[in-house]
């Protein structure tokens, strides 16, 4: 197994809010499913932003699919993004475009031809269970459905890694479960997933590896569910 993500002694400090990440190190292997857990402000979103090279670490180094944070050139960032799928808690869909157009958009910006885009959009939306809502606008869809469109868009360019920043944060239990199952399905087809979440119960049910952040520090990396249960009780 080869590490597609390598985070080595990464720290991130903001001039106003101080240390967001402190000496964080871990690796993600090809096709792995990893949860990123921690309280609000623990540094989960910062870590995901660093992985998409939206920002540079203050110290340390990140390597994502052959691109290294210290040496990546600004013009290479779009190339990396095309190989990543990114999903946010607030979906970030274009409100004046249909579900199909939102998914197509991700391929259009990379210069894919219409002949390729149209069947692929139908397939992707079918894959996330929205084959019957191709022409629906975001405001006509439920939160769970909007997140499915966002996931379909993230998969448009066949990413090797999906970064999901609390994708179920705005959803009810049923929709949360459905989105999680969808991400597992995607993972089963070979895409690695790094999913930030508050949902400790979901991680416990999955039995998957989780990375726990606390005040910017990596305090645990493994799949000891007993530890997670302690955390769950502490929250209650």
């Amino acid at each position: 197994m080869s590490g597609i993500v390598r985070v080595a002694h990464v720290s991130k400090e903001y001039p106003r809010s101080g240390m967001a990440l402190r000496d964080v190190s871990f690796e993600i292997q090809k096709g792995e499913f990893v949860f990123l857990v921690g309280h609000s402000g623990a540094g989960k979103s910062t870590l995901l932003r660093l992985l998409s090279m939206a920002e540079q670490p203050s110290s340390g180094d990140l390597r994502v699919s052959g691109y290294t944070s210290s040496s990546i050139r600004p013009r290479e960032i779009p190339k990396l993004r095309r190989r990543l799928g990114i999903v946010f808690q607030d979906y970030r869909l274009l409100p004046d475009r249909t579900a199909a157009q939102n998914v197509a958009f991700a391929m259009e910006v990379t210069g894919v031809s219409n002949a390729v885009i149209t069947p692929r959009v139908v397939k992707l939306l079918g894959q996330v269970g929205l084959g019957h809502k191709l022409d629906a606008f975001p405001h006509e869809l439920s939160g769970g459905e909007q997140q499915r469109v966002a996931i379909a868009r993230a998969l448009a360019n066949e990413p090797f890694l999906l970064l999901a920043d609390e994708p179920t944060g705005n959803l009810d239990d049923r929709a949360t479960h459905a989105i999680y199952m969808l991400l597992r399905e995607i993972n089963a087809k070979g895409t690695a997933v790094l999913m930030a979440t508050h949902d400790v119960a979901m991680i416990h049910r999955s039995g998957q590896r989780f990375i726990e952040l606390e005040r910017g520090e990596l305090v645990y990396d493994g799949n000891d569910m007993a530890r997670l249960l302690v955390d769950l009780r502490a929250r209650r």
Partner: protein, 285 residues
């Protein structure tokens, strides 16, 4: 490119009022600049017409023979500064005086008026220094008695011309700067309205060049439309002034085309700067 046009259309459909307001704002700022241009053009034209009247007159001595005059005329015609030369013989000078000064008709009997040579100079050769130089050369001819050209008048004309030129450049620059600032704010507003879209474009892997293109097109189209409307407004104004106050001159076809093109280029350039600034200020996705 097709995609960029579609994005421009989509942006317009999403907020048509913002798009129209943008083009109208550009049109009015270019209209103000166009009006200034029209005033400058007409002042320049009026000055040119006055300048055409700059004339140097050399009065000849009584003894000047026809051969001497002919020789002088030929020499003057060879001077590069001279547009044309005319000769007024003593007889025709008297006739002219009689016609122009009818009340003194009686006293003119038996009076000798000297013959003269009248020089009109080429455009660009009519400034005071040049006129004085030519007068000086004329004075050197033996048959020339006196040279007159209305020194004070020519000097005043050139002072006015210089003042108008400087004021025009300063005012024109101010108008152009105001137009650029207004157009810049208008385009910046449309970029901020689509900041979310730019963010999404970035995280799905769009290059800066791809993001920029629809905004450049949008700016160029707004500039062209604004330029066209501004031309129409200046034409209406010019026609109204011509029919009610005074005859004015309108831009030539070439100048109109240049104005239209300038609107488009201005829109394009300002968009380039605004979107560039936005992409620089907002971090990568």
């Amino acid at each position: 490119m097709t995609l960029a046009f579609r994005e421009v259309r989509l942006a317009f459909n999403r907020a048509p009022l913002l798009g129209i307001l943008g083009a109208v704002t550009i049109a009015f700022s270019l209209y103000a600049f166009g009006l200034f241009g029209l005033v400058a053009l007409n002042i320049q034209q009026a000055l040119r017409e006055v300048e055409d009247r700059v004339e140097v007159r050399a009065f000849l001595i009584e003894q000047a023979s026809d051969g001497d005059v002919e020789e002088l005329m030929q020499a003057l015609n060879r001077m590069p500064e001279v547009a044309d030369v005319g000769y007024v013989s003593p007889d025709s000078a008297l006739q002219r005086a009689r016609a122009e000064l009818e009340e003194f008709r009686d006293v003119m009997d038996g009076v000798f008026l000297p013959g003269s040579v009248e020089l009109r100079l080429k455009p660009g050769m009519r400034d005071p220094a040049q006129v004085e130089k030519i007068s000086e050369r004329l004075r050197r001819y033996g048959i020339v008695d006196e040279v007159r050209y209305g020194r004070e008048w020519v000097e005043k004309l050139y002072r006015i011309r210089n003042v108008v030129g400087v004021a025009g450049t300063v005012l024109g620059s101010v108008f152009a700067l105001v137009a650029v600032i207004i157009i810049g704010s208008t385009i910046r507003m449309s970029i901020l309205a689509r900041a979310r879209e730019i963010e999404i474009m970035r995280f799905v892997g769009a290059t800066n060049g791809f993001i920029r293109l629809p905004y450049l097109l949008d700016g160029a189209i707004k500039g062209l439309v604004g330029g066209g409307v501004a031309l129409l407004l200046t034409w209406v104004t010019s026609t109204l002034v011509s029919s009610t106050v005074m005859q004015t001159r309108y831009f030539s076809f070439g100048q109109m085309l240049l104005g239209l093109l300038a609107g488009g280029v201005l829109g394009l350039l300002v968009s380039w700067l605004s979107i560039g600034r936005h992409l620089r200020d907002v971090p990568q996705g």
